[in-house]
């Protein structure tokens, strides 16, 4: 028989696994709450400037690449599915499967960033980076930059969260392979899963707000 799996660690200050798990879950939800307020500042900024410059927002969103954005949306939703499967495997205590699904999630997450990189490069080539060399066809008003400032802030911050998420996943894979997670204790997988879905949901809002909304008004 294989040696028994590593004992699931119960931290010294918790009474039992239930308490430890509930604490971890609540902690992650609160963290997501603060993340929501963090992004919330940008969503507010978006709303204010969209209200102020509807025409420039229409011009700007027409410069965005819908097929690539859509592809990325599909990739990211796919990564949420693989993340759920990783959490499910953890709940069932299937160590090898956890690692595979985490790996799949990392692959899709990386694919998202690569596609996003192409989109950014495209904007660079077409002088759509806010600053001195900015040129938006159809207007010379510097205020037209506003859309792209917000586009880069929001998608950039989102991409940064993706990178952090990938780092967390990379940290979990070897732990999963070592058999650190059991049905009793897989708080890390669960927590990173929550985080990953949150980052996914942010994109689900960013895609229509930036790419789709009101582009026919241009």
């Amino acid at each position: 028989m294989a040696s028994e799996t590593r004992p699931a660690p119960l931290a010294h200050h918790f009474d039992d696994y239930d308490q430890q798990r509930e604490a971890a879950t609540l902690g992650m939800w609160l963290f997501i709450g603060q993340e929501l307020m963090f992004f919330g500042g940008l969503f507010l900024t978006y709303t204010v400037y969209r209200w102020k410059y509807p025409a420039y927002f229409a011009l700007g969103s027409n410069q965005l690449d819908i097929p690539l954005g859509l592809l990325n949306t599909i990739v990211l939703i796919g990564s949420s599915l693989t993340m759920v499967l990783a959490v499910r495997s953890a709940q069932l205590g299937r160590a090898k499967q956890i690692a595979s699904w985490l790996g799949a999630t990392m692959t899709l997450g990386t694919a998202f960033l690569v596609i996003k990189g192409f989109e950014y490069h495209h904007k660079w080539v077409h002088h759509l980076i806010p600053g001195e060399g900015f040129q938006l066809p159809g207007t010379t008003d510097p205020a037209a930059q506003t859309f792209f400032v917000i586009y880069f802030c929001m998608t950039g911050l989102h991409a940064l969260h993706m990178i952090v998420g990938l780092g967390l996943l990379a940290f979990l894979v070897p732990k999963a392979l070592r058999g650190d997670f059991s049905a009793d204790n897989h708080n890390w997988v669960e927590g990173v899963g929550l985080y990953w879905h949150f980052v996914d949901i942010i994109w689900i809002f960013l895609f229509p707000l930036l790419y789709l909304l009101g582009r026919h008004h241009a």
Binding site: A11, H12, G27, L30, Q34, G41, G131, Q145, V149, L157
Partner: protein, 549 residues
């Protein structure tokens, strides 16, 4: 040979406690014990308090005469900016939660530690990293934006280390967020058996309310600071009108956090107050539920009043009127607290020990700070005194007078618990008195100056204002002396103070049932709670009480 590993608990003998369980600087810098982390914070905030205090000394020295004879206006701008930044972000916001809250919260609810001990230590490192960056910015010239970082001043025109300071505040902000998160989870999930929500000490309720603001408010200032940094670094137009940006949007985002931040500073002090007033009047708190919910009400309504900082920023009159109305609402839970504390005193068996002196001082100072807050919430009055010393006096009465009185009262109350030593009662009473006199002498004249029209943030002023300014500077000297005294006798007590008993004040609460200082895991045996908070004997009429114990 007794086994004395770090997990050994010998609460009854007091031999092994959290201070002597392990030794060496590494055992402190890598500790996950909430009590030691509380002390690490105490050291951190004390350093920043001294630094911020030095700036205040220089500011008051300059303002002793109408001419700008000590500093150029540029240096003066940097002085009051750094004074504000250090005091607000690196002293007041972490003061009670990160020091006393860290130390006491788990003990008060009968837990062994906070829910996330490693995160707690990480929060301290974030705080210190943010402080270090701000200190670097200070050494390399500081900034002149005012602590408010208003755009386009901060993004286009300010000289100095705006980005370094901004990053410092950003990092320290996450320390605050994670501390709040840790507290909320701990209060929800780590309470001892029998400790229901309405048996929690009001200190815990106050910290719960504070934590909500920390978790939900701080990220907004974080993203705002990030945007300011991006605008300054890349010359893009988030708030810059030249590129279609809206500087007033910055003010909205800034005050959305920075007004609730005032409640981050005062709510924990109010929590301390409830503990002090009950302990030193030997009486159940009057209206427990009202005080508990008033903290939550302040936290919630605090998110809806930011516009009262912007009455003259081009906000619509309708918005101004609504914000004015909402601001008035804050007076209700604040008054509930003050009335309930006063009612708790009524027919209590009051003893005027040092913490109680601070508590009584708090009530007086907070009353003035709070009522002038109502005045300032009124549209018409605010327009008259906006950007004058009236504002400066008001927020110092709340943030310095009240918040620091609460902090010092709490520090004196729990000092025996934290260090296991008693301090000198005579000198501590003297210092409480000196601080009260010094504080009022410093800041009350500023109400008058402001009402007469002296604007804030200038290093010169018309000669007719000099008398009040000299009085204020003299008061600051007294106040500085008052703050110096505790540094001396508290440090003295560490070496020469009497050993503190487990419960030197005869107070109620789980923290007084364990040894002073507490063992590593807080209690020799995990406590079970069977009674309400503040179950003092005198809930029956005072005359019938014969024996105290």
């Amino acid at each position: 040979m007794t086994a004395t590993s770090s997990h050994a608990v010998s609460g009854d003998t007091g031999e092994t406690n959290y201070l002597n369980a392990t030794h060496g600087i590494g055992s402190w810098l890598l500790t996950r014990d909430h009590k030691r982390i509380g002390i690490l914070y105490l050291l951190g905030i004390s350093v920043f308090f001294v630094l911020g205090g030095l700036m205040a000394v220089l500011i008051r020295a300059e303002l002793a005469t109408p001419q700008g004879d000590l500093f150029s206006s540029d240096v003066y701008n940097r002085l009051f900016t750094m004074h504000g930044i250090l005091m607000i972000f690196f002293f007041l916001i972490p003061s009670i939660p990160a020091v006393l809250g860290n130390f006491l919260l788990p003990i008060m609810i009968g837990a062994k530690d906070l829910a996330f001990p490693r995160l707690n230590l990480a929060s301290w490192y974030l705080y210190m990293a943010g402080g270090a960056l701000t200190f670097v910015s200070l050494l390399t010239g500081g900034i002149d934006t005012g602590w408010t970082f208003y755009t386009p001043m901060s993004t286009n025109f300010a000289q100095g280390q705006v980005i370094v300071t901004a990053v410092g505040i950003f990092i320290a902000g996450f320390s605050s967020i994670l501390t709040g998160l840790n507290f909320i989870v701990t209060i929800h999930r780590m309470r001892a058996p029998g400790l229901t929500w309405f048996r929690l000490p009001l200190f815990v309720w106050a910290h719960y309310a504070t934590s909500i603001i920390q978790v939900l408010g701080t990220p907004v200032i974080a993203i705002t600071i990030l945007l300011v940094g991006a605008e300054r670094l890349f010359h893009i137009g988030v708030f810059d009108p030249k590129y279609g940006g809206d500087p007033v949007l910055f003010q909205h985002l800034f005050w959305f956090y920075s007004h609730p931040a005032v409640y981050i500073m005062i709510l924990p002090s109010m929590g301390v107050m409830s503990e002090l007033i009950t302990a030193f009047s030997r009486k159940r708190v009057f209206g427990y539920h009202f005080i508990a919910f008033s903290s939550l009400f302040i936290a919630v309504i605090g998110f809806l009043v930011w516009g009262h900082h912007m009455y003259i920023s081009g906000q619509s009159v309708v918005a101004g009127a609504i914000f004015s109305f909402l601001t008035m609402l804050v007076a209700i839970p604040s008054a509930v607290k003050v009335f309930n504390w006063t009612a708790t005193l009524y027919k209590g068996s009051i003893s005027l020990q040092t913490p109680m002196l601070y508590a009584l001082g708090f009530i007086g100072v907070f009353l003035i700070g709070g009522l002038t807050g109502v005045m300032l919430g009124t549209l018409g009055i605010d327009m008259h005194v906006h950007d004058t010393y009236f504002i400066v006096a008001h927020f110092h009465y709340v943030m310095v007078g009240s918040a620091i009185m609460g902090y010092l009262g709490g520090l004196h109350f729990w000092w025996p618990k934290i260090t296991g030593r008693m301090y000198n009662e005579f000198w501590s009473k003297i210092s409480a008195l000196v601080i009260f006199i010094g504080f009022n002498t410093t800041f009350f004249p500023q109400f008058i100056l402001g009402y007469l029209g002296m604007p804030r943030r200038y290093h010169m002023y018309p000669a007719e204002f000099q008398t009040w300014n000299v009085l204020s500077s003299a008061g600051a000297t007294i106040l500085g002396f008052g703050y110096l005294l505790p540094v001396i006798y508290l440090l003295w007590s560490l070496k020469f103070g009497e050993k503190a008993p487990a419960n030197p004040w005869g107070a109620k609460g789980l923290e007084w049932e364990t040894t002073s200082p507490p063992p590593v895991l807080n209690f020799a045996t995990p406590p079970v709670v069977t009674e309400e908070a503040y179950a003092y004997e005198t809930s029956v009429p005072a005359k019938e009480v014969t024996v105290g114990v």
